[in-house]
């Protein structure tokens, strides 16, 4: 195995006992990037020099005999919507094609403190709006399991870079499924934490009440370790929760005996790929074999999640994205003769069509005369969706579902039909509305493409998620499979 293929916990052991150096590790990662990046296209920006310098620092620390933390000297990739001081942060948008933040996002700061080696910034759907990374204004990222397919989105670059071993782990953000769905499509582990557990300060907002940062990793143990590093209260984020961050690795017991797992009947409907359906059924059996108790449950307001999401997320986005006007930073149309024309042309050219579609939708939902019927109504239904989960968690420790109804689709397949694209997030969106955590872990393959299993817990129930996901992983081999980085031959 190459160094870049290993997990963080494996690498930490090797670094700590000086079997390998951090610089060797970084070099292995960049060597891999150099050889596969044309096929995958995970990155908007590579930070090679900074990364090697940081790795050298860690090596110096090790050679001085100092102890290193679990993520120290280990390569990470950051989605390009998290601010990195002095490093381009574009949101994969023409609007921010030249934006270099003067400050670090809190998560980035935390990773630096943990000694992380930042490899580069990952491609994404523009402003995190999309489910395929085809909405990047720069280029589409490809699925390492079939480079003719999408990696999912919006955190497609973050997911693909982990799957293609271009990094050890990465950070993404999830507003309606943007971590879990690409994790599912790329066959890696992806966590959308409880709203408020990871600071949003420095995460370029799409929908403030839904956005949450989380990790992509090669196994569940790494996911718990990275979550240890990034979770916690941040005084710079008013919506960040004050809670004691436990050591999440203590939940990696491998034991799910007696765990009560709910299977929501609304998530097993027409439209889900039969192959995916079959794998989830096998997964449920697996959990039962492992000693968990699986029972059907109901989340009756599930069918409203998608419309509610597309009212609330777009309403917030219409306001959050208002600041991109060409006045202070980013793209500006220089041809305009007056300020209003400058605003209009800058935004017409700076934003792509999906972003504009959502801004218009959100502006409409907030307009006087429509506010009550759309925005306010959606807020009320959001409460009902949350109550569905509250009730279910009175009986269950975990709720289990597919992460997405299908495996990765072909590039270009859904770009003409936004509704089809939106449906890819049908199982993930409710969690953001309810503010609860969900993890996607590999649970098998359909026609050579990975399938993700989504496990859901109540607020601050990440420990339970790690426990269940880790136990499942211990009893399966899916996460050990490696992609071919070529166009898949369908037999």
């Amino acid at each position: 195995m190459q160094l870049n293929e290993l997990t963080a916990h494996e690498l930490h052991a090797k670094l700590a006992n000086r079997e390998v150096s951090s610089v060797e590790l970084a070099e292995a990662v960049y060597k891999r990037i150099d050889s596969v990046e044309d096929k995958v296209k995970s990155f908007v920006t590579l930070t090679r020099e900074k990364a090697l310098a940081k790795a050298a620092e860690v090596d110096a620390k090790i050679s001085r005999g100092e102890e290193i933390g679990p993520l120290e000297g280990i390569p990470v990739v950051i989605k390009d919507n998290m601010c990195t001081e002095g490093v381009l942060t574009t949101c994969s948008s023409k609007m921010l094609h030249n934006f270099v933040p003067p400050y670090n996002a809190t998560v980035v700061e935390k990773l630096y403190e943990a000694g992380a080696v930042v490899v580069g910034k990952a491609n994404m759907d523009e402003f995190a709006m999309g489910s395929s990374t085809e909405n990047s204004r720069f280029f589409a990222t490809r699925n390492p399991w079939d480079t003719a397919c999408v990696p999912g989105g919006s955190s497609g670059g973050s997911a693909a870079s982990v799957a293609a071993d271009e990094t050890v782990y990465s950070l993404g953000s999830d507003t309606g499924g943007s971590i879990r769905q690409p994790a599912s499509f790329c066959g890696v582990v992806g966590l959308k934490p409880t709203y408020g557990t990871v600071s949003r300060y420095g995460l370029i907002a799409f929908a403030s009440s839904l956005d949450q940062i989380g990790p992509f990793t090669k196994d569940v143990a790494d996911c718990a370790q990275v979550f240890n590093a990034i979770a916690g209260h941040d005084p710079k984020d008013s919506t960040s929760a004050e809670f004691d961050v436990p050591d999440y690795t203590k939940y990696l017991t491998g034991d799910v005996k007696g765990m009560r797992i709910g299977i929501p009947k609304e998530y097993f409907v027409k439209g889900t790929d039969p192959g995916v359906q079959k794998l989830i059924s096998e997964t449920i059996k697996k959990f039962e074999e492992m000693g968990a108790v699986c029972e059907e449950t109901s989340l009756p307001h599930t069918e409203y999640a998608l419309p509610v999401y597309y009212l609330l997320a777009t309403a917030e986005a219409s306001s959050n994205l208002a600041r991109y006007d060409g006045v202070r930073y980013g793209y500006r149309d220089e041809s305009a003769e007056d300020i209003v024309t400058m605003f209009m042309r800058t935004r017409a050219e700076g934003f792509g069509s999906e972003v504009k579609r959502r801004i218009m939708l959100g502006t409409y939902a907030l307009s006087s005369g429509y506010y009550d019927a759309y925005y306010l109504k959606a807020l009320k239904v959001r409460t009902l969706i949350k109550q569905d989960f509250d009730q279910a968690f009175e009986r269950f420790d975990i709720i289990l579902s597919p992460t997405s109804p299908t495996t990765a689709f072909k590039i270009g397949d859904k770009t003409d039909d936004p509704m089809k694209m939106y449906l890819s997030d049908i199982f993930t969106i409710s969690l953001n509305l309810a503010g609860i955590p969900g993890i996607s872990v590999p649970c098998g393959f359909v026609d050579g493409l990975p399938v993700g299993l989504q496990l859901i817990a109540k607020p601050f129930g990440e420990g339970t998620l790690f426990q269940a996901a880790h136990a499942f992983e211990q009893n399966t081999e899916h996460h050990k499979m490696k992609p071919t980085l070529s166009v898949r031959e369908v037999i």
Binding site: C83, L203, A205, S209, T239, A322, R323, I339
Partner: protein
């Protein structure tokens, strides 16, 4: 016969709160500074930043509400007001919409000696915008404009009155009283010239007796109390003229041109913004406890009306004096300090309303300033010197002039310059005799019933004593001797 019209006015007042830091970040909220030096990523609205509410601002919001007799909200939140303008870095202003910090208050004004209660609809908190500096006269006519974001995020309270004001004068009186209250509460400096107090007015007219309000116009850009009254007078006249000519007042926003003395239409209702208010998802709602409200209530100072009552009740000051003195916190504080050193409140009030106000206006000094040469104790001493007959009122004016220059105590000035009043009957007697001898004609005139002649004779004695003779005593002696 011409119709009588009733004027209906409501005011929206913005006051900058004098906190150390801005409303949602740690940048300095100080006035001035080189352009774009009191800024950080948060108030610049850079991608990814988040606001965190300044607790002091909420405290000041509550304090303002309490000073205006409002109900304080137990649950309040911030909302976004969306509109595009280059002085607004996020293109939305964080404000409060349907759950303001305080509601249902009132304040009292005195119009022609009559008390009148004016309703305060609401008090809410919001962030200020930046400042545009155009290369030309307006943004449209400029090749470029510069933006200074120092003021962006400086905390404001907006105070909205009920449409209870019935004349431009009442509107000015309301604004003056509101300013006094905010000053006393020490939440704002209320400097109209620095823009820390700003006022918009909604004005309409209706035939007297009509129940429904007329169509209102919103007036902006009045930068002084005088301008407010003038602008309103102009607008009222304009609206009456429109109606008299058989026209209809249209709902619009108008801007006051101080130089030309006219208001101009800015935009009509059709062009009005749809602000698309919605709760700011970056800020959590505020839950305000009774305990916190009560603690803030404890810190409220004596407000202008209470001071006015005290002056009238405890010191027998005329209502008018009390009103004038309490109109400005510094004047009232000065007066209170003076009262510690003299019991003659009326005499003190005369000096304060006369010479002291004049001195403040011409010198531009604040009574709180170290350079202010006349401590209240010195003025009170002067009042006492007159009361005790040590100097006459006339001499006192000269002494006051000296006091302004060197900051000396009046007693010391009187001593050094030998200005003490001569109240020694023997000494005055001699001079009176001399004056009588020198002016036989006046003595004659007086004896023939010309009362005026005594004035001349008193004047002569005063002149001979350089004004130091006790005038009452001179008068008494002259009359005795001419009987």
């Amino acid at each position: 016969m011409s119709t009588e019209y009733e004027v209906v006015i409501g005011l929206e007042v913005h006051a900058e709160l004098k906190t150390e830091s801005k409303i949602f970040c740690c940048s300095s909220a100080k006035f001035g500074g080189d352009p774009n030096t009191h800024v950080c990523p948060v108030c610049l609205g850079l991608p990814g930043v988040l606001p965190v509410a300044n607790k002091k601002v909420i405290e000041f919001g509550i304090k303002t509400g309490l000073a205006l007799n409002c109900q304080i909200a137990g649950y309040s939140k911030f909302d976004r007001k969306n509109y595009y303008y280059p002085d607004l870095p996020k293109n939305y202003q964080i404000s409060q919409y349907d759950l303001p910090i305080a509601e249902h208050g009132h304040l009292e004004i005195t119009v022609d000696g009559q008390h009148k209660v004016i309703g305060v609809t609401r008090v809410h908190m919001e962030e200020d915008a930046g400042k545009l500096v155009h290369q030309g006269a307006t943004m449209a006519s400029s090749k470029y404009s510069l933006v200074d974001y120092n003021r962006t995020g400086v905390p404001l309270v907006e105070i909205v009155s009920e449409p209870d004001l019935r004349s431009p004068e009442e509107a000015r009186l309301y604004l003056e009283k509101l300013k006094a209250i905010l000053e006393y509460t020490e939440v704002s400096d209320c400097k109209m010239e620095e823009g820390s107090l700003r006022c918009d007015a909604n004005v309409s007219v209706r035939p007297a007796g009509q129940k429904e309000f007329g169509t209102r116009a919103e007036l902006k850009n009045m930068n002084s109390f005088k301008a407010l009254q003038k602008a309103l007078e102009y607008e009222v006249e304009r609206q009456i003229e429109v109606v008299e000519d058989g026209g209809r007042v249209i709902q619009e926003t108008r801007t006051w041109d101080e130089v030309k003395g006219i208001s101009l239409s800015m935009r009509s209702k059709e062009e009005a913004h749809d602000y698309r208010y919605f709760p700011d998802p970056d800020l959590v709602p505020m839950v305000i406890s009774e305990e916190w409200i009560n603690n803030i209530r404890q810190t409220l100072p004596e407000l202008p009306d209470a001071r006015k009552d005290r002056y009238v009740k405890d010191y027998g000051l005329p209502e008018y004096d009390a009103e004038v003195i309490t109109g400005y916190k510094q004047i009232s504080d000065y007066f209170d300090e003076g009262l510690k050193h003299t019991r003659n409140a009326k005499a003190l009030s005369n000096w304060v309303m006369g010479e002291i106000l004049k001195f403040i206006n011409t010198s531009g000094l604040s009574v709180y300033s170290h350079e202010f040469p006349i401590p209240a104790a010195n003025l009170a001493e002067l009042v006492e010197l007159i009361d005790q007959g040590v100097i006459s009122g006339k001499i006192a004016k000269d002494v006051f002039k000296e006091m302004q220059v060197k900051g000396e105590k009046p007693g010391a000035i009187v001593e050094a310059k030998g200005l003490k009043q001569i109240s020694d009957e023997g000494a005055i007697n001699t001079i009176v005799d001399e004056v009588l001898v020198k002016n036989p004609q006046s003595v004659e005139d007086f004896k023939n019933g010309k009362e005026r002649a005594i004035g001349f004779l008193v004047g002569q004695v005063m002149k001979a004593t350089k004004g130091k003779a006790n005038p009452e005593m001179v008068n008494k002696l002259l009359r005795e001797k001419m009987q």
